[in-house]
C-alpha cells in the first residue's frame, strides 16, 4: 500500500487531465439578455453585417417551421429540424468566404443554402430526388452526409487539396456530439493536424444524439478538449451566441489560411424539435425543464435584444424578413414540384462515366417499363 501511494505521487497521470479540463472554458460574448459580456472578443462586424446575420437567423427559423409543416403534409421527405441551432449553424457559415468548402451533416442544410444552394434544391434533397444533390457550379459544398463522421475525414482531404493548390480557403465540416465519438472524427482531426491542413471542424453539441445524452458519449468533459490529443487548437463556445460562434470560426479561418492548420470548435447548443420527422419522440428522453432552460438561451431572442438596443432591429424589419421567407419558400416549393419525375434510368445513367454491360442491358428493360 505504502509503495503504491508513493508511486502515485511520483507519477500523477491524472494531473495532466485536470490541467486540460480546467483550460476549456466556454467562450461567450453575448449573454442571454443580449448584453456584451466580453468586449475584448467582439468580432469586427459592420452594422449591415450584424443585420444580415439576424435576417438569416429569422429566415431560417421560418424555414424550419415551414419545413416541418410541409413534412407533416407529406410535401417534404427526410427532414432534421434546426430550430435552436441558428447561431451555431448560420454564424459559423457567416464567418466563411465563398471559396471555402462546406462538408455538412444531415442537419446542416441551412449552411448550404446561405452558401449558395438554391432553396428548391434543398427541398428536392429532402424529397429524395437526385437533382437536389446536383450542386451548382461555383457553390462550394457537397450534399449532406448521412453516415455520421464520414464528412470529417473527407474535410481533411478537401483541406489538404486546398493547401496543395495554394488556395487561400478552408474546408469546414460539421457533426454532432454523437458524431464526436466516431473513429472518423478522430481520424479527421488527426489527419488535418498531421498535414497542417486548413480545416475547421465544428461539433454542434446539442446534448443529444437522437436519444443518447452527451454524458454517455465520452468520459471527456468537453468535446473541445479532444483537440489536445490531435495536437490542434480547440475551443468551446456558447453555441446560442452568434457573436461567439462567429468570432471563433473567423479566428480559426485566419489561422488556417495562414498555414497554421486546423481547429476544433465545439458549439454548445440545443435542438428544440425532434431528431428528425421520422417518428422521434423527444419526451421519451428529455424533460420539459431542460427544454425550457435552453429555450431561455435562444439565439434569436438575445441577438434581437442586442440589435434593438443598438437601434439596428425592430418588429417591422423582422416582419419583412418573415414575409419574404414565406414568399420565397412558396416559390421554391413550386419549383421543386416542377422537377421532372425521377426515373430509374436517370439513376442508371449517373452511375458510371460510361455505362457497363449489365447496366446497359437493364437500362433497356427499365426504359420499356417507364414508357408504359
Amino acid at each position: 500500500m505504502a509503495s503504491n501511494t508513493k508511486k502515485a505521487q511520483k507519477f500523477d497521470a491524472k494531473k495532466s487531465l485536470e490541467t486540460v479540463e480546467e483550460q476549456f472554458q466556454t467562450l461567450q460574448i453575448l449573454n442571454e439578455e443580449g448584453e456584451v459580456v466580453n468586449e475584448a472578443a467582439m468580432p469586427e462586424l459592420s452594422d449591415e453585417q450584424l443585420q444580415e446575420l439576424m435576417r438569416r437567423m429569422v429566415y431560417t427559423r421560418i424555414l424550419d417551421q415551414r419545413s416541418i409543416s410541409l413534412n407533416r403534409q407529406g410535401r417534404l421527405g427526410f427532414y432534421a429540424p434546426t430550430a435552436g441551432q441558428e447561431a451555431s449553424q448560420l454564424a459559423s457559415q457567416f464567418a466563411l468566404e465563398k471559396e471555402d468548402f462546406i462538408l455538412p451533416g444531415y442537419r446542416d442544410v441551412p449552411q448550404l443554402i446561405w452558401h449558395g444552394l438554391p432553396l428548391y434544391q434543398a427541398f428536392l434533397f429532402s424529397r429524395g430526388h437526385f437533382q437536389g444533390n446536383q450542386i451548382p457550379e461555383g457553390v462550394n459544398v457537397i450534399s449532406p452526409q448521412i453516415i455520421i463522421g464520414a464528412q470529417y475525414v473527407q474535410a481533411a482531404g478537401v483541406a489538404l487539396g486546398m493547401k496543395k493548390n495554394g488556395s487561400k480557403s478552408v474546408a469546414i465540416t460539421y457533426t454532432g456530439d454523437g458524431g464526436a465519438s466516431q473513429g472518423d472524427f478522430y481520424e479527421g482531426i488527426n489527419f488535418a493536424g498531421a498535414f497542417k491542413a486548413p480545416a475547421i471542424f465544428i461539433v454542434q453539441n446539442n446534448r443529444f444524439a437522437i436519444s443518447t445524452p452527451v454524458e454517455k458519449q465520452s468520459a471527456a468533459k468537453t468535446v473541445a478538449q479532444k483537440a489536445v490529443a490531435a495536437g490542434i487548437p480547440g475551443i468551446q463556445v456558447d453555441g446560442m451566441d452568434p457573436l461567439a460562434v462567429y468570432a471563433a470560426v473567423r479566428e480559426a479561418r485566419e489561422r488556417a489560411v495562414n498555414g497554421e492548420g486546423p481547429t476544433l470548435i465545439e458549439t454548445l447548443t440545443y435542438r428544440y424539435g425532434p431528431h428528425t420527422m421520422a417518428g422521434d419522440d423527444p419526451t421519451r428522453y428529455r424533460t420539459s425543464e431542460l427544454d425550457n432552460e435552453w429555450e431561455k438561451k435562444d439565439p434569436l431572442v438575445r441577438f434581437r435584444k442586442f440589435l434593438e438596443n443598438k437601434g439596428l432591429w425592430n418588429e417591422e424589419k423582422e416582419n419583412e424578413v418573415i414575409e419574404k421567407a414565406k414568399e420565397e419558400i412558396k416559390e421554391a416549393i413550386k419549383k421543386a414540384d416542377a422537377a421532372p419525375k425521377q426515373k430509374v434510368t436517370d439513376l442508371m445513367s449517373i452511375m458510371f462515366e460510361e455505362m457497363p454491360q449489365n447496366l446497359k442491358e437493364q437500362y433497356e428493360i427499365y426504359k420499356a417499363k417507364e414508357s408504359k
Partner: protein
Amino acid sequence: MAQMTMIQAITDALRTELRNDPKTLVFGEDVGVNGGVFRATEGLHKEFGEDRVFDTPLAESGIGGLSIGLALTGFRPIPEIQFFGFVFEVMDSIAGQMSRARYRSGGRYNMPITVRSPFGGGVHTPELHSDSLEGLMAQTPGLKVVVPSTPYDAKGLLLSAIRDNDPVIFLEHLKLYRAFRQEVPEEEYTIPLGKADVKREGTDLSIITYGAMVHESLKAAEELEKEGHSVEVIDLRTISPLDIDTIIASVEKTGRAMVVQEAQKQAGVAANVVAEINDRAILSLEAPVLRVAAADTVYPFSQAESVWLPNYKDVIETAKKVLTF
C-alpha cells in the same frame, strides 16, 4: 398464443433470452431508454436495467469491437446496428474479426454474438438506410446470416441465433416490422438456423427467395395459380449456410426454378443459389434458372424506389418465362 407484429416478436425473443441467460447483453445506439429507433428493445431497459441493456457511444466500429471483447470475457452480446447501411463502419469487426476469431484461435474462442440490424427498402429513408447488403455478409466465411420474413419465424430464429456459439448476422426487413400480425406462441421455441421453409407447396415451379420478397413471391404464386400454375415458394430464412437439401428436393420435384431477391443483381445471394442448383440438379431442370433482382445501381434516391424495387409483377413476368421455356 398472441397476435404479434414482427417487431413485437423480436422484442419478445430478446426479453425471453435476457430472462433465460444472465450473460446476454443488449446494446447499441438508442436501444436503452429510447427502446431503439424502431422500438425493438422497448421496455427492456426498464426490465433488465442499465447493466444488461445499454446505449453505447455513437460508433459502430466500437460496438463491433466491444461485442468481440465481451464475447472473450464470457458474455453473449446482442448488439444492434441501427441501420444495416452503417455496416461499412463496422465491417472490420464483423468480416475481419468476429468471423475469424474461432478459426484464428484454433477453435479456442467462440464468438456467440448476434448482430441485429434493420435493412430493406420501400419506406422512403435517406441514403444508406435501406440497402440490402446481406450479400456482403453471405460472402464472408465464418458468419451465419439470417433474414426472417414472418413474426413467427423471427422469434424462433432469433432465439436460435442468440444461443448459437458462432456469430450470426440477423437482418430485419424494415417494411416487415409492422406489415402484419401473426400468431406467435408466448412460450419459447426455436427454429434451427440453416433450415429453409416451404411457405407454399406447388408442383410446376420453385421460387426460392427470402425477406420481403417472400411476400411478393407468395402474391405472385396466388396470381399464377389462377392461371393454372402450381408454384412452390421456398423461404430460405438463412442465406448462409444455405439449406441445399430443401432447395434441391423442390427443384427435383418441379423441374423449374427461379430466385428472387430485393438486392441488386450483381454477384448476389440469388446468383449463388442458381449456381448451387446448376451444380447439383441440372439434369432435373426443364428450363434455365432465372433471377428477379433489383437493378445494378446504388440503392435509389427514395423517389424512384417503388419502380426500382422488385415486386410481384416482376416475379410473375419471370415465372412465365421459366414456365413456358
